[in-house]
Every structure is written in C-alpha cells, then in structure tokens.
C-alpha cells in the first residue's frame, strides 16, 4: 500500500470520526424522538465505516467483520426490534421540557468533548505509535456524550439510544486500540446490544400500559421521604 493511499485512508477515517462526534452532539440535543433514532443509525454507519477504513489501512480482516456486524445489527435489527417491542408512541414523542435547555446542554457537551480529548490523547499515545488516530479521544467523547444524554433526557427512546451511543463510543475507541479482540466476543457484544433493545422495549411497553406515559425519566416516586410516607397517615404523627 502506497504512502498516499495510507494518507487518504487516515483522512477518511478522521472524517468518519469527526462526523461521529457530531452525531453524538445531535443525539443529546434533538428533541424529536424519531430524529434521535435516525442520528443513532447514522452514527452506527459511521462506526462501521471507520472500522472498515481501519481494516483496509492495517489489512485486518477482523475489522471488516466488526464493520459487517455493526452494519447489520444496529441500522437494521435495532429499529426492527424496537418496532416489535415498544409502543408506537415512543417515536412520535417530542420533548418540550428537557432537564436543561438546549444551549446549556450543548455547552456542557462541548466541555465533555474537550475533556475527552485531554483524556484520550495520552491513552492513545501510551498504547503505541500506530494508535494516534482520532478514534480514542472521539470514542471517549462519544461515551461521555451518551452518558450525558442519559442524564438530561426524559423520554424512553432517547434514553435507550443514549445507552447504545455509549456502547458505540466505547467501540469506536476499541476498534483502534483493541484490534485483535476475538471475533466471537464482538459478536457476543453485538447480540448483547440487541438484548438491551428488546428488554428495554418490553419495559417501556409495560410502563406505558400500567402508568400511561413513555416519559420514563419522570417516574420519581421512590425515595426516602416519598410515596411511602404520604400513603399512610401514621408515618408522620
């Protein structure tokens, strides 16, 4: 492989990673639940693209496998599973009252990305010279943004996508530094993601049936001085 091709592949990979970071920001801030899902699908495609490009760059057939697994499981099976398990209402929801307004959310998200850069670069350097791509810092940023999504969103679907986005982030870092991980394990992790979607879809359906909302983040009756004390008159004599 010529020097120029390597350079091109590196640049393309950097582009995929950059776009990956943007989708991470999008998932935090998009109000429309369906928009969140779309952004997640784009993010998974970018992850697959990055894996394929790295596979080409380092001649690793194993990374092609990772790309294929991601290509099949997340953009295709995840939406299908969601449709089968969770109520249709989760798609149409629009979040008016997030925990923080959007400018504040995005500012904090930006700070997280900067933090991830300073955390990720020394780690990538310690792992070896060939890992100095953008994958590790952006992967960590993706992980943190996913976690941040979980703290600010209230609707079921964006919360589920936050969890899957965290996993995507960990993977984006993983395809660069843990290249030789067993294929069996990659497959198992992908299956695990599908089980997450299934179980959470079932839970959301149960919540909608028995509580009548899909804003699961707003359920807050369990605490030390919550419903238990108000339910019984003797609690506070």
């Amino acid at each position: 492989m010529s020097e120029a091709t390597q350079q091109l592949l590196d640049n393309l990979n950097a582009l995929a990673c950059g776009l990956f970071l943007l989708t991470g920001f999008g998932i935090v801030a998009t109000r429309q639940a369906r928009g969140c899902l779309l952004l997640f699908i784009v993010q998974s495609l970018l992850l697959a693209a990055s894996a394929a490009l790295l596979g080409m760059r380092y001649g690793s057939g194993h990374l092609y496998g990772v790309a294929l697994v991601n290509l099949v499981s997340k953009p295709i099976i995840v939406p299908w599973l969601l449709r089968r398990t969770s109520p249709a209402e989760v798609y149409t929801r629009r979040e008016i009252d997030q925990a923080l307004n959007i400018p504040v959310t995005l500012t904090i998200a930006l700070a997280l990305a900067v933090f991830a850069y300073f955390l990720g670069v020394p780690l990538a350097n310690a792992a070896g010279a060939e890992f100095r791509g953008p994958n590790v810092p952006i992967g960590i940023a993706g992980l943190l943004l996913g976690a941040f999504t979980l703290t600010v969103r209230r609707e079921a679907l964006p919360l589920l996508i936050g969890i899957l986005a965290m996993e995507n982030g960990a993977f984006l870092a993983g395809i660069s530094i843990a290249r030789d991980l067993d294929m069996l394990i990659e497959l198992a992790i992908a299956t695990d993601g599908l089980i997450i979607v299934f179980i959470m879809g079932v839970l959301v359906r149960a919540v909608q049936q028995h509580v009548g909302t899909t804003a699961v983040g707003e359920l807050a009756s369990l605490r030390e001085r919550g419903v238990e004390s108000s339910a019984s008159p003797e609690a506070n004599p």
Binding site: I177, L222, A231
Partner: protein
Amino acid sequence: MSVVFILALPVVAALLVLLPLGKRWMSGVTVAACLGNLVVVARLAWSVVGGTPPLRLGEPGWSQWFVADGLSVLILLLIALVATTAAIYSVGYMAHGNLQARKLRLYYANYNFFVFSMLAIPLLAEPTLVWIVVELTTLCSALLVAFENTREALEAAWKYVVLSLMGAGVALLGFLLLFAAMQAGGGGVYTWAGLIVAAPRMPPILLQTAFLLILIGLGTKVGLVPMHTWLPDAHSQAPSPVCALLSGVETTAILYVILRLFPVMQAVPQAHVETWALVLGLLSVGFAAFLLLQVHDYKRLFAFSTVEHMGIILAAIGLGASAADYGAMQQIVNHSVTKSFCFFAAGATLLTVHTRDIAAVRGLIRRSPAAGAALVFGGLAIAGAPPLAVFLSEFAILKAALAQGQYLATALLALFIAIAFFGVMLHVNRIVFGVAEHAGPQDSDSAAQRTGPGLPFSCGLALILAAVPVLVLGVYVPEPLHRLLTMAAAALTR
C-alpha cells in the same frame, strides 16, 4: 466437564419451564435444577480445596476460557446455595398471589436465566466475556424487578436498567483499554491469570485508567456510594426471592470482577488502588449507615444494608493485609447467607401484613410469630450481633485493621457499623414488638382480617435452611471452608 454442566443446567431448566405442563412443573424443574447445580458446584469446590483443580488453566483450547480457583469457586458456591434456597422459597411465595400460569412461567424462565448469567461470572476467565455476562445479569433480572407491574416496580426496574447499563458502558471502555494495555505490553492470553503475568510490562497509564473505569462502571452495579441510587429501589420492589438473589449474590458476583483486578494492579504501586478501595468502601458504609436510620420501608432497610456490607468488604480489601483479605472473604460468605435470609424474612412479613411500610406494622410477633421471629433473627444477624455469622467476620476485619495500624479507618468502620446496628434494630424492633398507638382505622384492621392461612410450607423450609449457615458460621468455620477462604484470599495478591 462439570463447568459445562453447571452452565447448561439452568438454561435447560429455563427452556423446560416454558413447556405448558402446569404450575407445579415450573417450580419443580427450577428447584431440581438449582439443587442439582448445588451438588455439582459443591463437588467442584471439594476437588479445588483438595488441591486437584479440574481444569488446567492457561492451556490452549476450550479450558483457557474458564477459571476454577479458590476465589471463583467460593463465589460459585454462594450463588448456587442462595439460588437453591430462593427457588424453594419461590414455590410458596409465588403461589400466594394466584398468578396466571403465563405470568408465572415468565417468572421461572427469567429466574433460571438470571441464575445462569450469575453462575457464568465466576466461571469465565476472559474479561470481555465476563463483561457480557455482567450485562446479562442486568437484562435477565430487569423483568424480575418489574414483575409486579406496579408504578413503583416499573420505575425501579427502569432506573436499575439505565444506571446499570450506563455503568457497563463505562466498564466496557475499561475492559477494551485493559486489552490494549496487554497488547502494548507484548501480548499474552487475555484472561485473569494472563493479565497478572503481563501486568508488569503494561503501560501504567493504560492500566490505571482501565482500573478506574471498571471500578466506577461495575461499582455502579455493586451499589457503591455515590452510584448506589438505584439499588434500594430495585432491591426492594422485586419479589422477595429475587431480592434475596439480587442483594445476596448478584452484588457479590459483580464485586468479584472488581476484586480480580487487585492482583493485576499490584504491579503498579503508584496507582494506590488500595486507597481507592478503602475510601470508596468507607464512604459506602458511612452513607448507608445514616440512610438506614431514615427508611420507611423494611425491604429498603435491608437494601441499604447491602450497600453497607459491600462497603465493608471493599474497605477490608483496601486495608491491604492478608488477615483483612481473609476477613473480607469471610464477610462475603456471611453477608450472602445472612442477607438472603433477611429477604426471606421480609417476604414472610409482607405475606402477613401486605404492606412494606414500617410505620403501618406494629406488633408483628403477635400476628405471626414465625414471621416476627424470623425478622428479629435476620435483623440481629445482618446487623452483626455476637453469636451469629456476620459478627465473626466483621470482628476479624476490625482486628486486622487494628493490627495494620490503620486506627482512623478502624474507628470509622466500627462507628459506622455501630450506627447501622442501631438503625436496623430500631426499625425491626418497632415492627416486631411495637405497640400500635393509634391503630389506623382502615389499615391495620383490614390487614388483620386479611391475614391468611399462615406461612406457606416451602417458605418456612427455605427460612430454616437459610438460617442454618447463619447459625453455624457464627460459632465455627469448617476446615474445608477455611481452606477455601484462605485460597480465595490468596488470589487477591500476586
């Protein structure tokens, strides 16, 4: 071979449960599978104690994916034991509500899958595979936590899933970094044993970051303060036998994964992992001790006590002395057997009074002597009263801490344990012996009338079976168990 058997049995049982052969079939298959597993695990433990481990580790081939040393066999034994008593308890407890067969089938199938995922944690040797089964424990138990489909149960299940998976995401990055560290250090077999060998050659920064990510990520699932917020909810809303599994052994099994990293991290003395463990442990004990004082729900009382005990174990490991390590292993055993008993007792109370509210229950001993006596016994045992199991191990840990010269840690630990003792006994005493000052007109009258035909037989049997180790381990530790504990404690150092 026995390893494959241990993992296959619960899966087969889960599939058999799905056959439409009636309610007795489901509970019968589950109890039989758990009992069978207990026998196989006990034999495995016996051979490990006898010095003939059944697997030659590190050799290429399928056996390199499994581990059966003292530490993992100890955890395995506890899981199999509690799974058996909880299965027996389930028979009567779940028959109580007159559930539909379909709903009950969901319960037993999930129960068996949950047991499978927990048994796989100590058996697997490959860290990323362990991560996957840790995820599976969350996913298999989520529907069990939500089983009652009340608003509170669903909220608890949702919080449990979201926070556990969030932690797992953080831990995944940690495990991938661990793998990268191994590759950077010249490679090797990516197993617990391989990590210990390769640790001195790994870049310290990668190892340190990986450890912290895993400690925070899996610490969420262990219920360490400040990541504990979901634990009292999930561990109180699930059906009581499931609470026994969640609190008694699931937390312990996840803590085991963190413990596996301690010998690896000793290659990097500048990382101060012991200090991290000590601080996080003391924080958990202290926080839980004060929260115990203000609970309103007796199942939450025992859930907070789990946070406290996880803290005690982690703090003991953080002391870094071999005597404290032994005490921590003993505490793991005693906590599991005692906590499962406590939740059985809490379930018996719930069957009698139909409320979880501490303020609504007074004079339980007069309404149901069995439930009342069990609750007092469980409260005393988990709080650490002298002739019972937990006292012995807590005493061993405090003694080791003093011998180590860690006076501040000893004082804090002793203080928090005393506060927790007071908190648990305060509430239990009120429930069991208290006199209702102004009997709530609708509450206690109707509850008294609803008092059913007494405790189901299988619940009583499970309570008696679970009480035996609590009593016995309080007065003496059998020689084989002592050897197993010693081996497990030795696995915590290089």
